[in-house]
């Protein structure tokens, strides 16, 4: 179990990590989600004991990580740039942590073969990393991290330098591998989709602050604030600043009926969030908020259409299934699914989250 207690890290005059407290259980998958420079790598380095926190404590199974000498720290780390020993074969690369630990030859042979099998590297064991493709190199780095049998495995955006399709494939394989070893996994990424696909728990980071740490699907369905909601949305969530006035929401010159579920809110200023796939050019079956918009661009992927809309200065995106061709500059009504609206108050805190999707 890895415990962080009020950990902060200051570098120069900037706070890279601000007062982070979290507990990571054995055998769990933990995802650090946030944009670049949000502190993911800094946090991982603190967890590994490579950096010392400016304040706060980091405890691995009750012992302070910082005081431990390198050999005793049972950590494996995989980086974005596939880092392998260039002069050694794949076999040797994977075997290296075990050789350093003095494990006997028979065990090394067995474990290397197991890891290679898992990572589909068996035909390449005799090659050197330079003769491998990017995906294979990263798999080698992953295999090396796995055989170390570390208690803590840190993966810093390991798939970022790989091709799209390769990323997809490895993303499917990774959770299976995680499940087998029982270590604590910490995985940093900038892509919300990856977090959702990997499951486990997610910590959303923004400028050194952990805004929420919960089961991934819960962070997705009930983001604690606007910042978290936006970090966890790709494409970005549509946001609409409104003022509630009795039974109506007022947005500049538009007015909407307040959906029944939101009627209990006070008459104040709020921000309404709607994910792009809850916005459509066709009225949904249930209740909706209608907005007059102008089409600014369309992007068609063959199976889906992204329609970019402008409404009174706010830029929004509707994601619709199928191919929808609309004219640029056309004025069209757009519909926000009233059953799937998030409401945030003036300070950005969550006031209401739609309960209809996912487990509550």
């Amino acid at each position: 179990m890895l415990e962080l207690r009020s950990v902060s890290k200051k570098v120069g005059r900037d706070w890279h990590i601000k007062d982070v407290s979290m507990t990571l259980e054995k055998g769990s998958v933990n995802i650090l989600l946030g944009p670049t420079l949000s502190g993911k790598t800094s946090l991982m380095r603190l967890m590994a004991g490579l950096d010392r926190p400016t304040s706060g404590e980091i405890l691995m199974n009750g012992t302070d990580v910082v005081g431990m000498p390198v050999q005793k720290r049972n950590v494996a780390m995989v980086y974005q740039q596939f880092i392998n020993y260039p002069a050694m074969t794949v076999y040797e690369n994977i075997a290296s942590p075990m050789r350093v630990a003095g494990v006997d030859k028979a065990t090394i042979e067995r474990r290397v073969r197991e890891a290679a099998d898992l990572m589909k590297l068996t035909p390449y064991l005799e090659r050197t990393p330079l003769n491998l493709s990017g995906g294979q190199q990263q798999r080698t780095a992953l295999a090396r991290a796995l055989v170390k049998d570390a208690e803590l495995v840190l993966l810093d955006e390991p798939l970022a330098n790989l091709d799209y399709k390769l990323r997809e494939e490895l993303r499917v394989e990774l959770p299976k591998i995680f499940a087998e070893t029982g270590a604590i996994f910490v995985y940093a990424t900038t892509e919300p989709q990856e977090a959702l696909l990997l499951g486990g728990k997610t910590a959303t980071l923004n400028e050194g602050l952990v805004t929420q740490f919960d089961d991934t699907i819960d962070v997705y369905n009930r983001p604690s604030d606007l910042l978290t909601a936006q970090t966890f949305s790709d494409p970005p969530m549509n946001v609409l600043p409104v003022r509630k006035s009795g039974a109506e929401f007022v947005f500049n010159t538009s007015r909407f009926d307040v959906p029944a579920s939101l009627s209990g809110l006070r008459d104040e200023e709020y921000t309404i969030g709607a994910r792009p796939h809850h916005m459509s050019l066709q009225p949904p079956t249930g209740k909706s908020m209608k907005l007059d918009c102008k089409v600014s661009t369309t992007e068609i992927t063959g199976s889906e259409s992204f329609i970019h809309l402008q409404s009174e200065g706010i830029h929004m995106v509707a994601l619709m299934h199928g191919v929808h061709r609309v004219g640029i500059g056309d004025s069209l009504p757009a519909y926000l699914d009233a059953d799937n609206l998030f409401v945030f108050d003036r300070n950005g805190s969550l006031v209401f989250a739609p309960g209809s999707n996912g487990h509550g």
């Binding site: 950096d51 010392r52 000498p69 390198v70």
Partner: protein, 295 residues
């Protein structure tokens, strides 16, 4: 990066510490000591206060030597830096000639400094030196031992021959690290070779240029061996640089006090100029995020 705290690390430092103490710290403190005292080195000390410092700063000899150093460094820098950059620009980046060029460039740097002085001393002699003989044959009068201009020209030429390679190698390393895409983009933009140099290459090698500048300045300002071997400070004292003067005073005349004082002043001058140089050069062209540039 904070590494975990381990007291055993101090044990590793002790040998180096002793070495540095003996070869650097103690001698420096001795010099400081001497600079404030009057002594003949026989362990009899008479307090002199700032007398030596005042003497040094009032002596013509000191200021002349300083002047020579400054002029020399200026000339050296204005030749070696542009020449170094120019040579680095012409060196190939890929292919079989790269290691050949690098080795050729490195050779002058590997020669011990007094040997360099000796090489040029012989080189310039009218009887057995290639340069001296050749110049003599075409009718140019050349004698570095008796002619001030010749002496200076030879020392400068010698230093350029010896040290330009350093600038070349530093700049070459900087140039080689510029991604090909920049040149490709410049091609597409229709940029001239000069534009490519001014807007891509020069900015990108700024870091190494600063280092090259500082290294060459410091070394040329403190030059001793080569001119000493070549001219011994002559003719007269036309090539008596501060270091040579210092040695004359300390060892030749055994004026330890004034020599020590001069040595400290010398060091302070070098440090100050380097500091100013470094600060200015690091900040040239650097924007604070909100700064605006007047069009």
């Amino acid at each position: 990066m904070d590494k975990p705290y381990n007291n055993k690390a101090w044990l590793f430092v002790i040998p180096v510490f002793i070495l540095v103490a003996l070869s650097a710290i103690i001698p420096i403190m001795t010099v400081v000591n001497y600079s404030f005292q009057d002594t003949f080195g026989n362990n009899q000390f008479f307090w002199a206060g700032t007398e030596w410092f005042q003497d040094v700063l009032r002596s013509d000899r000191f200021w002349n030597a300083l002047g020579r150093n400054l002029i020399f460094s200026l000339i050296i820098l204005s030749i070696e830096i542009p020449l170094g950059i120019a040579i680095a620009l012409t060196m190939p980046k890929k292919g079989i000639w790269v290691p050949v060029c690098l080795v050729l460039m490195a050779l002058p740097l590997l020669i011990p400094w007094n040997v360099v002085g000796t090489i040029w001393q012989i080189f310039g002699r009218a009887d057995i030196g290639l340069l001296g003989y050749a110049l003599d044959q075409i009718g140019i009068e050349y004698n570095y031992a008796s002619n001030v201009f010749d002496a200076w020209a030879t020392i400068i030429l010698m230093d350029v021959w010896h040290w330009t390679s350093l600038v070349v190698l530093l700049c070459y390393a900087g140039l080689v690290s510029i991604p090909e895409a920049y040149y490709q983009a410049a091609k597409i933009d229709g940029a001239s070779k000069w534009s490519v140099f001014r807007y891509i290459q020069l900015p990108k090698i700024r870091g190494v240029l600063i280092i090259a500048f500082l290294l060459r300045f410091m070394d040329s300002f403190m030059i001793y061996t080569e001119p000493f071997v070549l001219t011994g400070g002559g003719p007269g004292n036309s090539t008596t640089f501060m270091s040579i003067d210092l040695v004359k005073q300390a060892i030749g005349q055994f004026d330890l006090g004034p020599a020590a004082a001069m040595s400290l002043v010398y060091q302070l001058i070098v440090l100050t100029i380097c500091y100013v140089f470094f600060t200015v050069m690091s900040n040239v062209g650097v924007d604070k995020p909100d700064a605006r540039v007047e069009d």
